[in-house]
Symmetry: D2
Subunit: 352 residues, 4 copies
């Protein structure tokens, strides 16, 4: 039984590079296709790509030749790191042609028939796939992972929502520069500075959590009935988004209840031991000054895949406040899409 | 009619240096005394002080000799940049001996009979001074300015509270390293990082605003009846605290109402044209990505004294959210104490 | 007698913005023309320009409309902040049409009949202008200022060359990100990093000093007979290039001789009191750890125009080593071109 | 045959923590002793130590109790991360008592009878040990590793010296903040800045290389006959020193000769496959803009132990110039001392 052949759409960008790195020596997937924009098609990967990761570029991709983002690629599953406006055009052509798309793009996240997935949070939402195929007449399908800030926020909220019911969520993020891709944020804009604005980000963080924590109701998701208010900032940090969160809960909970709910949380990826599932999924720190990006962004047994929570304390206005931290280009982007693909395998949506 | 002779307690530290700089060529005050801890007493200022400001050390203070922090100093008014635990011991000895203390320390801010002042916000709270003198038997007195984060938060809240009534305030701060003094934050702790914790800070930001916006009721302040929830973070920015704020208001207000209330705000310092009063006191920016520390921390006609507000927009949970920015060691510390002293002169508490 | 009308070619970029800022309220020049690339032509300056300076955009340029970079502009003198390959095409068309060009571009710096000027260093090199006009049949002319790193290096070397004769120069630079323009250096490339390479920079720093310190010999410059070895690095500093320099001198000099030569140096700009001439031109610091960008880049009476030298000490291999620091976008770019224009006025090349 | 018991003197500081991390699961050494200053003695390591490494503190050291830095410790070999002035007092008392000291302190580096060692460079200098014991009457002995900047400089120079003979060396360093320990460099001193001075550093870099590349001549080292000129700067980089180097060689060499000499260099640690020996010892990069701290400080098969060289090109003044980069707290400090200890085992100075 061979490995499943996979490809990357948008392979030369910041997220594309993370896919390349994470797929090196994957036990289930073999990277056979790198696709990119016209400008790069026909070039060797090592030549077309300005590699920005500290880890050296894997030897075997250096000479792979970049292909066009059009069906005909030799693989079953595609990871999409395309910009959203291009993803909107390109991804359906592949789904129609029978490919499975695990997309990091925001284009289709909020479509009613397209799953927005965090395997620990709502693995059952893959139940939308059949609806999607029927409605759109596709032989393949698209699944998506949420925005980087949403991902870690909802990973931390899930056990609380399950145990105590969320009513309100305040979140202020301090987001890393790698979230803007490459070249992304100009150094003159961020050195000795904070930018209190990221285009489109607050809208995503205020809407995606309600779909992720929503209920699969046949052919659509019933949005979870809580409100989110988000304020998103860029800070001069390479990797790792920090989020200050306050929540109101339906049922009262003690600090011990909160900690216990977070620490004991395990879900499908941990139970099925998916290759990129961190265990524990959520790391709770007791120190007064943690989590911090430089110390915690790679915490846990699968570097960059866990969510770290700290500073759990009462909120004078809502119920509890705490700090959430997670790696934005691993679990918050490429790693999130990859774990989604691993979930698809575990659920039998794709066979090797 | 000569200038009022003033001195600085804790003159060699980060805030002490700002006092030195701001007092250069002051129209009303003449700096005659520099006092510091035992370690520095007897040394020339230029020798005892590791000067960290980009502006050159003023020529005339270089050869001033540092004195002991005990009464007998040749001046009428003292600016205190002492650490809080030392301020607690030292400041009363001066007040008893007849000195006026304008203190930046937190030691006495929340005492019922000691004014916590922002001249634009609660200039009438100097009405506590007589109570203080009587109760404590002092010929001098102490007034205080709030924490750096509180200062700019409350400066922005004041016009809203006056016009629409505050009910709830959420604030998440991203605070500059200069707020921790010198040497303060280790570079290994903050490069490529966020520290989601500043010791004692959240408690101050949650309590001081209620006193500042409270009502003078004879011999005490009636706390304003709203709640604040604060989360304070350190970021790698030299100067300028950025604060993400959400507020609930008692009376409904449109975005135009909010902007108008902030833009038109003038108070005693502007009317009396105090030397360090910024005019306008509040600068409202319309761009989607302002204010930013590097662009706005020195904005306005008196550098570092104004509060800058931007990104005013509806909050899905409360009523309005916005971003507040201000200079933490100027208006947020030394400049705040200096404007308080100027208010005392304008109100006739001290004569030249 | 009115002001001289001046314009800026490439007005929206980082150096263009510095020209705008430095020309505000200039005693001799009036800014009447802003020109830029096709993309911006016809737009208001405030709209076309992503302003990156902490100083607010001057009110009077906000509504000025950007014009095409072709002759016909209403002014006598043009400051060029064009990219080099565009400067190469555009600048001669203006010189031919009678304009005076003070160019910051590298395109024509090393041409034999085009002056490469630092007013303190080689003001007599304007003697090339007549040769240039005759040879090229131009009614206007072009003068240039050197590369930012060269500028401060040669400003410090000039008094030493004059007094003791330079034989060899080693220089390793640590250059600010603003030197790369905007957006310029990506934050992902420079946070927590050093880039030991700047394209084309070392070649400039190894060649320009020999022309600047060369001798006007009728219709050309005789290169000064010393060698330079340069290594150029980018560091995460906003403004201010730091240079570690070692020199071998023809005649022996004591440390006191070196300091005296630097401190006492005055030249045409200081004698003629040109509006942007710093006095002193060179600031010598005695502390062991100065100059530093954050403390010294704006040192002196005309912010950003002086060169700061420190750490003068013997070199085990050559004769003396020291550290040079200067502002790269003020004296090292726009300010350098502006002082060149002021020199032209003082020398009578242009009349108001 | 059991593991050799080792301890750390100065275990709670920045270098001490690196020793702890590098000794986790070491094949030959077992960490049995943690010693520190009086202030920490008797406390648990987890309690006494402000851990600053991104890697989590190893579980097994958390509860180890800190001991006094006096003989009687239960181990054969001690790694010393003591400050130099303390090392000067403390290390001899251990050597006299029979312990082997592998010291990172500078105190004894230049003593004639104490080896200053880089295992790849001068493994035969352990020949001084017998002289040292006899002369001092010690049953144990001290060996030292060089300064962090020297270490990588000399690692790169060794193959060139061997093949072509060094005559002159210029070096300008851009050093990481971790080199100053913890808390070390204040963030206010280094954000947006370069500090062109590190106390005592240039003296070390100008003297240590001559001993390291010197010749063992019976009971002393004959210094290598070349001169070094060093200029040392601090930059805002967490880990990894970057050095711009120029060399004059006795025998002429082409660029290919230089590259070949560096790339093919192997020495005792590589041949004996010491656990922390990187292979290759020197990594040569061909890109124009490498090495860079963020990309190359952990390069190679043993993270942080290799030296990376790039930008090899002719020098207009000497013969060749190039850029050297290496990790300062791994190979440049704790890792260097550890490899020295591994060399001692390989040479039979200590038996397990």
């Amino acid at each position: 039984m061979g490995k499943i052949r996979v490809g990357i759409l948008g392979a030369t960008g910041a997220v594309g590079q993370r896919f390349v790195q994470l797929l090196e020596d994957h036990p289930w997937f073999e990277l056979t296709v790198l696709a990119a924009s016209d400008r790069s098609v026909g070039k060797r990967y090592a030549e077309a790509c300005h590699w920005i990761l500290p880890e050296e570029m894997p030897e075997r991709v250096r000479d792979m030749v970049l292909q066009d983002c059009t069906p005909g690629l030799e693989c079953e599953l595609l990871f999409s790191a395309l910009p959203s406006h291009i993803a909107r055009e390109v991804e359906p052509t592949f789904a129609e042609a029978g490919y499975i798309i695990c997309s990091n793009a925001s284009a289709y996240r909020m479509e009613p028939d397209i799953p927005l997935l965090i395997p620990e949070v709502n693995p059952d939402h893959t139940g939308l796939i059949e609806t999607q195929r029927q409605r759109r007449g596709w032989s393949g399908f698209i699944i998506t992972n949420p925005n980087c800030t949403t991902t870690h926020l909802v990973s931390a909220l899930k056990p609380l929502h399950e145990a105590f019911g969320l009513e309100k969520v305040f979140v202020v993020s301090m987001q890393a520069i790698s979230g803007a891709g490459y070249p992304g944020v100009a150094s003159l804009d961020i050195l000795d500075n904070v930018i209190p604005y990221i285009s489109g980000e607050e809208e995503k963080v205020e809407s995606e959590p309600r779909k992720l924590l929503g209920r699969l109701a046949g052919d659509h998701i019933e949005m979870a009935p809580f409100q989110v208010s988000a304020q998103c900032n860029r800070v001069d940090v390479r990797d790792g988004h920090t989020e200050c969160v306050s929540v109101a809960l339906r049922h009262s909970a003690s600090r011990e209840d909160i900690v216990e709910a977070l620490r004991s949380f395990r879900s499908v990826p941990q139970e099925k031991r998916l290759p990129h599932a961190p265990d524990p999924a959520i790391i709770v720190r007791d120190e007064p000054d943690r989590p911090q990006p430089v110390l915690d962004r790679l915490a846990g047994d699968v570097p960059g895949m866990a969510t770290v929570v700290g500073r759990i304390r009462p909120c004078p206005l809502l119920d509890w406040k705490f700090v959430v931290l997670g790696h934005n280009t691993i679990r918050g982007a490429a790693g999130g899409a990859l774990l989604n693909a691993e979930l698809l395998v575990a659920q039998g949506w794709i066979a090797s």
